[in-house]
């Protein structure tokens, strides 16, 4: 063998390359089968950003179809529940400029959940059929109720109810849910905001 290599370095090199090619080819082939990616990863990534409210406001029958549409070049500003933050995330993912929410599809609203006025419910099951995520519990001719923790506030159950007993109510804001707002430019609105900034006309100075 050593003799062969020393006598015919060219053939030896050729052989070595061939061997390498075979090894790598086999590894790649094996990897392609073993670690095959199911589905379209970019669609899944987009779908992971969409809020999964499944409300259809974007004009597609759910978030996944809209994710597919975005992957095929649709605008990223059609999802009101995702709002501005969602658009920014999508823009980041797809490396495009963020654009303002298209208000043709609705406006960003505070989070709400459905509430069934239970003594008015006739048990027609229509809302159950409408709820995309099975967040309503009930049976024919029996009172129905919404599982609040699961409800995404998509609004789809309100319309089908024949006796109009479903309300969309804002999620309670206790002290725990309360949050600071981004200040606006009108100082009178900021009366409750205190920071001693603005005292730098006094004798304090920066380090």
């Amino acid at each position: 063998m050593i003799e062969l290599i020393s006598q015919h370095p060219f053939i030896a090199a050729l052989l070595a390359l061939l061997m390498l090619g075979l090894v790598f080819g086999a590894t790649l082939g094996f990897g392609a089968v073993k670690f095959a990616v199911d589905g379209d990863p970019i669609v899944d990534q987009i779908n992971a950003i969409l809020p999964q409210t499944q409300c259809g406001q974007c004009g597609y029958p759910g978030c996944k179809p809209y994710a597919e549409a975005i992957a095929n070049g649709d605008a990223i500003n059609k999802c009101p529940p995702g709002g501005e933050a969602g658009i920014h995330e999508l823009a980041n993912l797809l490396d495009v400029e963020p654009i303002a929410l298209d208000d043709e599809h609705g406006v960003e609203d505070i989070k709400k959940v459905a509430y069934i006025r239970e003594d008015e419910c006739i048990g027609c099951t229509k809302c159950i059929q409408a709820c995309p995520i099975d967040a309503i519990l009930g049976a024919a001719k029996l009172m129905h109720t919404v599982i609040v923790s699961e409800c995404t506030g998509c609004d789809l159950c309100v319309e089908p109810c024949p006796v109009d007993c479903i309300d969309m109510i804002p999620v309670a804001t206790g002290t725990r849910a309360w949050k600071w707002e981004i200040p606006d430019r009108d100082p009178s609105h900021n009366a409750n905001i205190i920071v001693t900034d603005n005292t730098n006309n006094q004798n304090g100075h920066a380090a």
Binding site: Q52, H88, I182, A191, I193, V195, T196, N198, A207
Partner: protein, 626 residues
């Protein structure tokens, strides 16, 4: 002397501390009503264990901790529980939350106390249990339950205990006066802490604007043999360093005293460091050595709108307005009321809110003292904020991203490390309330995480539902196909059916023909049938259709009593064929219910036979009558 380090940035605002230090600590009288919010700490709110009308004694537990991150609550004085309801709490939102309201009876009568004479005999877990039962949460900052902070993991050795006596924020002097008058209690608390976490070094950090207390603290600490307590060569040292805001920030203080930087998103425990506030140390001393839970604290009342600024030893739950009245508060001069200091505090909308575990200061400034912020201008990119930021962040960038709600960018720029100290806002020449942007954005980021989790859940449920609907649809189609096949099979079989059946069928046909004639003769039945048809075409509602069909049948029955029997035969036949299909299916699939199905088929056949018999009988009867 331990070497000291410096941290990046920081500012030197006017200290304004002397006003409240002219007097010794005053014990505030007991307010007639004490309001105790159930959530004065970080974590789950405590759960009330008393009822309205209950008599409580001073120090009695009135609400217990729920879950691991929570602390209990105790009655600050003896009296009657008069309400457990929503009251405005001291919170930036000005919202209400659940509170227990106690009407004091003036006796201030203690529950029985069982002080521990020699805590050195107790082990770590017992001491931590005492601390957690005493309702102690951090008294300097956000109110994190102390017992959790002390319950360090065994795999990370803690070598340094830092006592935070910095009190870097202007105006506040509660810790300063505590050190002046309670040095022994502080030292005792430190000793208990040392016993619990067994550090090799105890560093007591004091800013150099409080040099008057250094000797007292050193002397008090010298009375304890820390080495004996920990079993290590532990030494305690008081370290003073130049005054600079915000040196009291936990990460900043650690850097000053040890030169180590807590990594972004990390905890001091990773570096083997535990930080405690001296107010907490006194509370620990009270809990262990006196069996007194956390029911009072030292609070500074100051600002130009009070005539007698001083520090109060005040019961938790005391209304702010009650305390202000003790200091001769001039309401007409006060511009706003602030709980906490001028840098990190928040404005109070309501003076009835109570003093809580974290209330270190009530500041009542006049308009000249703390003027209303002028309108914010555009950022001029001067970079002063970045120079002042103790966390080495880029506040102007964060401001930019916060305005655009670019949460990803904010996270990339480490907004999580912002301690909300307000140094950036303080130096900003454009008067931009920068911290407000960061506070809002931080909540947005947290909310987004929760939203993503919820979205993930919703997606799972949505997918599960889609799958289920698909499965049901598939099943329906499969069942229909099977039925069709079985019907074909049954039809073939029926070809060989017995003659009797054929005869009956012929009879039925005949009757039907006769009935058709009869129907023509009976206008009432016809009309109702028409009506039913109209209803059926007009309404797609299955219920309306069913009702209409039934009405038509009834009308028909009235016209011709034989109909009913014929229908019975029809439906019995259907049943027979159905049950036969089922038997065939079951035979094909080797179903375990085969026997039952066979039985059912036999029964159906018997029913059919009896229906046919009934018709024959009826006929015979009617012909006999004729």
């Amino acid at each position: 002397m331990n070497k000291i380090w410096d941290f990046h940035g920081g500012i030197h605002p006017l200290e304004n501390k002397t006003q409240s230090l002219t007097k010794a600590i005053v014990t505030a009288p007991i307010a007639p009503q004490l309001t105790l919010p159930l959530s004065q700490h970080i974590g789950a709110p405590a759960k009330p264990i008393v009822q309205v009308g209950d008599q409580v004694l001073k120090g009695q537990c009135i609400a217990e901790a729920v879950g691991p991150v929570s602390v209990p609550l105790h009655a600050p004085t003896s009296g009657t529980v008069i309400a457990i309801e929503q009251r405005t709490i001291p919170h930036a939102s000005g919202l209400e939350d659940n509170c227990i309201v106690i009407e004091a009876n003036g006796n201030d009568e203690w529950r029985t106390r069982n002080p521990i004479t020699d805590y050195t005999q107790l082990d770590k877990n017992t001491l931590i249990k005492i601390i957690s039962h005493a309702g102690i949460s951090g008294m300097g900052g956000a109110g994190f339950p102390t017992s959790i902070k002390l319950n360090t993991r065994d795999d990370i050795a803690i070598d340094t205990l830092i006592l935070n006596a910095t009190e870097c924020e202007p105006y506040i002097t509660s810790d300063h006066s505590l050190m002046r008058e309670y040095a022994d209690e502080i030292a005792n608390g430190v000793a208990i802490l040392a016993k619990i976490i067994k550090p090799t070094k105890i560093l007591f950090g004091i800013e150099d604007n409080k040099l008057d207390v250094v000797d007292g603290i050193s002397a008090a600490l010298a009375q304890h043999d820390f080495a004996a307590l920990t079993g290590l060569a532990t030494e305690a040292e008081v370290i003073t360093f130049p005054t600079k805001y915000p040196s009291g920030g936990e990460k900043q203080l650690i850097q000053i005293l040890t030169g180590k930087e807590v990594p972004s998103g990390g905890l001091p425990a990773q570096l083997g460091i535990v930080c405690q506030n001296i107010g907490t140390a006194v509370a620990i001393h009270n809990a262990v050595c006196l069996d007194e839970p956390l029911i009072s604290r030292i609070t500074t009342v100051t600002g130009d709108a009070v005539n007698q600024p001083c520090n109060y030893h005040v019961l938790l739950g005391t209304p702010v307005e009650f305390l202000l009245a003790q200091s001769d508060y001039q309401k007409n001069q006060s511009a706003r009321l602030i709980m906490g200091g001028p840098m990190m505090g928040f404005a109070l909308a309501n003076t009835a809110v109570p003093i809580v575990k974290t209330t270190n200061c009530i500041l009542a400034p006049t308009e000249e003292e703390l003027p209303t912020p002028p309108p914010a201008q555009a950022c001029i990119r001067c970079g002063m904020c970045a120079e002042a930021c103790p966390a080495s962040l880029l506040p102007q960038q964060l401001y930019w991203f916060a305005q655009g709600k670019e949460l990803d960018k904010l996270e990339e720029h480490n907004i999580a490390d912002c301690i909300e100290c307000g140094a950036c806002s303080y130096v900003c020449p454009s008067n931009i309330p920068l911290v407000q942007y960061y506070r809002a954005s931080k909540v947005d980021i947290r909310q987004r995480k929760v939203d993503h989790q919820n979205a993930e859940l919703a997606k799972e449920r949505f997918d599960a539902r889609q799958e289920r609907l698909q499965r049901l649809e598939d099943e329906k189609i499969a069942a229909r196909k099977a039925r069709q096949a079985a019907a074909k099979l049954a039809a073939e079989q029926r070809g060989k059916e017995d003659v009797k059946n054929a005869a009956v069928e012929a009879a039925v046909e005949r009757v039907k023909a006769k009935k058709a004639k009869g129907v023509q003769e009976s206008p009432a039945a016809k009309e109702s049938e028409n009506q039913a048809n109209i209803i059926a075409t007009e309404s797609d509602d299955p219920i309306a259709r069913a009702v209409a069909k039934r009405a038509a049948q009834l009308a028909e029955d009235a016209a011709n009593p034989e109909n009913k029997l014929i229908r019975a035969i029809d439906s019995a036949k259907q049943r027979v064929s159905k049950s036969q299909t089922r038997v065939v299916d079951a035979e094909a699939n080797n179903d375990e219910n085969l026997a039952i199905f066979k039985q059912a088929a036999e029964k159906a056949e018997a029913k059919l036979a009896s229906a046919q018999q009934a018709l024959i009988d009826f006929r015979a009867q009617s012909s006999a009558q004729e």
